[in-house]
């Protein structure tokens, strides 16, 4: 075992100088040359589409009259549910969301009709001419109202969409044996993704009745299947190209503008562009689930945690989308995957309301649960008179322990390595709380665990295609979407590692449903699929290339530029090999790695983080400033250092936003804000300095040496910040985002 691989190492341009190259798309982006989906403006005959949304959050739909809109000059088509040739529904888990409502509207983002017009202005005007008749229904405001007797049902099966339970041991008996028991009630906000490029793109009809979608999305193949079903077209007449897009974070995982734009393109035979403005994105777009979590945790006199109970209620809004999968991941994390606890009862309920739609969002329920669990750990440490780190040390799992669902796991390392590194952080020394200053500082830490892949035995396949083109380019195709995370940089670097080519030999093709299906670009799964694909392709690729070379040249190996002999001399270039005539295309398709268990449960490939936060609290206003962050990660080998670092830092600041600023408040199904004037995300002025230290080793990790780290940085940030606030002022926030006024009141109570 290489012990240095298990020593945390600062991730900087200096320490990782060898691998610190720019991402392949950086120059194009910084020069403003990349064509985003919403930049597809120059299609001949392009029409602008707009979608009519419901005026009420909950109503019976009595009728829609589109005649005045249809006859407005400049309008080319108006479509409603009656114009859908296929099935009027979609949804990744259950197809319960209508493309256009027919008789029941369940939230303000519900679509009723769409128009295509010569200009966006005419399209907007046409929407105002559509007459809709509603019969108002009582609004289901929150999960408790939704579950009350006699509550209006949003769906035929009622308002409880799903529930989840993880239980082992006997919690009640264990609590009776505990020396210390603590209880907490936590709440997390309805966070908005705020990708800078809102949902959009263009749909282009072809001469044979097919459509090509050039859009911002996260899964070209899955979207094609859903769209073909809606449009009543065979899948081979629908092509989805997921162009590099301005952010995703889970919010483009579900269909957005595609069904309406597809229907308008079919109807008019012309290219249709739809780009949600920020208001429409707010109203119709998916959000992070707001969650109420009630937790009870107890330990014996020695600080061994004996029992942990948690109940979570998630406001999933009007439709399912990925809510059921979020619930499972949330309960997995709520069962305290970092700690060995003999008696557990964790339950969750996923409840329909008229409050928008909640679904996939970086962290996927895990970070909400980790906020509650890590807060409970600190509370329990205080009750037991132990340092929070000591309580953790006494209860952390070993890498050999099974996961919370009893599953075999591949842990990167002993989590105590991260705990030790976090305790040695320079941030602890920087806390200097002086009682007479206006700003009081504090330091806190939290830990997080996460698994890669879709998990829980869900179908999770991926693949790739590798081609030596006619002109000697190495073309490597995956179905993944580049939405900023840097999958293109990871694939380039991995391809150079496994195929031994130079970056200049390589063309990377992404996100095309006519290419290989790699599965969705989600669940931090892309890097692992990429490594698996290249590992499987490597020997076949070498064999095929050498078979193309002249027979008299043995011992050739793929290298930069072409095949090289044992001394490294270039013998035959890739263009020369391609000139030999035989086209070389290799395809791989395989399942995402799962453990050796007979019934796969939970997630096999695990990763870890510890986050240390240094904050300052203004005693006059209650305002919080995060001064510095220090992360220690165990997420496998660093494939592309700037992307790794950028993912950890970006996720942390997104989590900081959720902790201190971000929420979409709703009242009676109405959004109380709809743009970035009132919904504040962190700016440069809010962003702290960050340090990322990485543990690259993985125990027994020759088989799976990398992890997907896109969600890791958001895992532990919220409880680290609230622990630091508690360290500063003695008040532990339990509701996010932390309200300065609440802190002020609590401080006044503590120090009247």
């Amino acid at each position: 075992m290489n012990t240095t691989a298990f020593t945390p190492r600062p991730l900087t341009a200096d320490t990782f100088a060898e691998r610190w190259q720019p991402r392949p798309d950086a120059t194009q982006k910084v020069r403003g040359e990349l064509r985003y989906p919403t930049d597809e403006l120059d299609w001949p005959g392009l029409l602008h589409g707009r979608i009519l949304r419901s005026a009420l959050p909950h109503a019976r739909l009595l009728g829609i009259d589109v005649e005045r809109a249809r006859t407005l000059p400049g309008v080319h088509a108006v479509v409603t549910a009656a114009d859908i040739p296929g099935t009027n529904n979609y949804g990744i888990v259950f197809r319960d969301q209508p493309v256009f409502c027919t008789d029941h509207v369940r939230f303000l983002g519900d679509a009723l009709a769409a128009v295509a017009a010569d200009t966006p202005e005419i399209a907007a005007h046409a929407l105002s001419l559509i007459e809709v008749r509603y019969a108002e229904l009582p609004v289901v405001n929150d999960p408790s109202a939704a579950l009350a007797d006699g509550a209006p049902a949003l769906h035929p099966n009622g308002n409880l969409l799903d529930s989840s339970l993880i239980e082992h041991g006997d919690v009640e008996a264990a609590f009776a044996a505990c020396a210390f028991v603590v209880e907490g009630h936590y709440r997390t906000p309805r966070q908005m993704h705020v990708f800078m490029e809102t949902e959009g793109g263009v749909v282009v009809p072809d001469e044979i009745g097919g459509l090509t979608f050039r859009v911002g999305c996260q899964s070209a193949h899955r979207d094609r299947e859903q769209l073909a079903s809606i449009l009543g077209l065979p899948p081979d007449k629908v092509r989805v190209i997921g162009l590099a897009t301005g952010g995703g974070f889970g919010g483009k995982d579900e269909l957005t503008m595609q069904p309406a734009a597809g229907l308008l393109a079919l109807r008019t035979g012309r290219p249709i562009r739809i780009h949600f403005d920020r208001r429409e994105s707010t109203i119709a777009g998916i959000k992070r689930h707001p969650v109420e979590l009630v937790a009870r945790t107890g330990c014996d006199a020695q600080g061994r945690i004996l029992a942990h109970q948690l109940h979570a209620v998630l406001d999933t809004g009007a439709y399912a989308t990925l809510g059921p999968a979020v619930l499972t991941n949330l309960t997995d994390h709520a069962a305290a995957p970092l700690y060995r606890i003999p008696n557990i009862r964790v339950s969750g309920q996923l409840v329909h309301t008229n409050n928008g739609v909640a679904g996939a969002f970086r962290g996927f329920g895990g970070n909400q649960a980790t906020f509650a669990v890590e807060s409970q750990l600190d509370r329990l440490a205080h009750a037991a008179g132990l340092h929070p780190a000591e309580l953790r040390r006494r209860n952390l799992r070993t890498p050999q322990d099974p996961g919370v669902e009893g599953q075999t796991q591949q842990q990167p390392c002993d989590p105590r390595l991260l705990l030790d590194a976090a305790l040695q952080s320079p941030l602890w020394a920087s806390a200097s709380s002086t009682d007479d200053s206006r700003w009081v500082t504090g330091v806190g830490m939290a830990m997080g665990a996460q698994g890669n892949g879709l998990g829980n035995g869900l179908p999770d396949a991926g693949g790739a295609r590798l081609t030596l083109t006619d002109d000697g380019r190495i073309e490597l195709a995956f179905g993944f979407i580049e939405y900023g995370q840097g999958v293109i940089a990871a694939i380039r670097n991995l391809a150079c590692d496994y195929l031994h080519c130079a970056p200049e030999d390589l063309d990377i093709r992404l996100g095309d449903s006519s290419g290989p299906d790699s599965g969705p670009t989600s669940a931090s799964r892309s890097s692992i699929i990429a490594v698996e694909a290249l590992r499987r392709l490597q020997p076949q690729w070498r064999a095929l290339l050498t078979s193309l070379a002249p027979p008299a040249t043995p011992g050739l190996q793929p290298g930069p530029g072409g095949l090289r002999d044992q001394s490294g001399e270039l013998v035959i270039s890739y263009p020369q090999l391609a000139g030999a005539g035989t086209p070389v295309t290799l395809n791989v398709h395989f399942d995402f790695p799962t453990g050796p268990d007979a019934t796969p449960r939970g997630r096999y490939l695990q990763l870890l983080i510890a986050t240390v936060a240094h904050v300052a609290v203004d005693r006059l206003t209650g305002r919080i400033r995060v001064e510095r962050l220090h992360h220690i990660t165990a997420g496998g080998r660093v494939i592309h250092p700037p992307s790794y670092r950028g993912q950890i830092e970006g996720a942390a600041i997104m989590g900081m936003g959720m902790t201190l600023l971000e929420d979409v408040p709703m009242q009676d199904g109405q959004y109380l804000l709809d743009n970035l004037d009132a919904y504040l995300i962190p700016t440069l002025a809010d962003a702290p300095e960050q340090q990322v230290d990485v543990i690259e080793g993985i125990l027994g990790g020759e088989s799976y040496p990398v992890r997907g780290i896109g969600e890791l940085g958001i895992e532990a940030i919220s409880p680290a910040i609230t622990a630091a606030i508690e360290n500063a002022i003695g008040v532990r926030p339990e509701r996010l985002p932390v309200e300065p006024t609440t802190l002020l009141a609590a401080m006044q109570e503590l120090h009247p």
């Binding site: 910084v30 202005e121 952010g247 942390a652 962190p682």
Partner: protein, 155 residues
């Protein structure tokens, strides 16, 4: 719908333009839809995100907030016009090397703001450059790469 058209004369990326447009047409729509310059991006339409920032007579401003009648006779530079400028190339290189961009949708606006700031004051310090970016939001990076690029660019 009943827009008043007028004749707009202005300079875009060094070229004089004459357009018949509604007086209240947004500069952003003129650039993107009428002139095909898609470097400036639309993010919020209310001047908060800075993705549409362009340089107008030397200042970086959100193009979604300026109307046609407000740019009469003025000089506009979008990323398409800025990118060949050596100062802009210097800024771009700093951003690229620091890993200061991910999805890149906010980047043309950031480049516009930094270019304007360094044109105003080639000796701008870190605080001044950070001030210049107060109107530019980035959702991907957490800004740490941007901080490093600024440290590189500041004197």
């Amino acid at each position: 719908m009943n827009d008043v058209f007028f004749t707009l004369h202005f300079t875009v990326n060094g070229q004089e333009q004459t357009l018949e447009v509604p007086a209240a047409r947004r500069l952003l729509d003129i650039l993107r839809l009428d002139l095909g310059l898609t470097g400036p991006k639309e993010g919020c339409s209310i001047g908060r995100c800075g993705a549409c920032s362009v340089v107008v007579d030397g200042d970086s401003v959100p193009a979604c907030l300026l109307l046609a009648c407000q740019v009469q006779g003025r000089t506009v530079k979008t990323i398409e016009g800025l990118r060949e400028d050596p100062l802009c190339e210097h800024i771009s290189a700093a951003l690229v090397n620091a890993g200061a961009l991910q999805c890149g949708y906010c980047t043309p606006g950031i480049v516009s703001s930094l270019t304007a700031a360094l044109r105003h004051n080639p000796a701008a310090d870190v605080a001044e450059l950070e001030q210049a970016l107060h109107g530019n939001l980035c959702r991907c990076t957490g800004y740490n790469g941007l901080r490093q690029a600024i440290a590189e660019l500041a004197t």
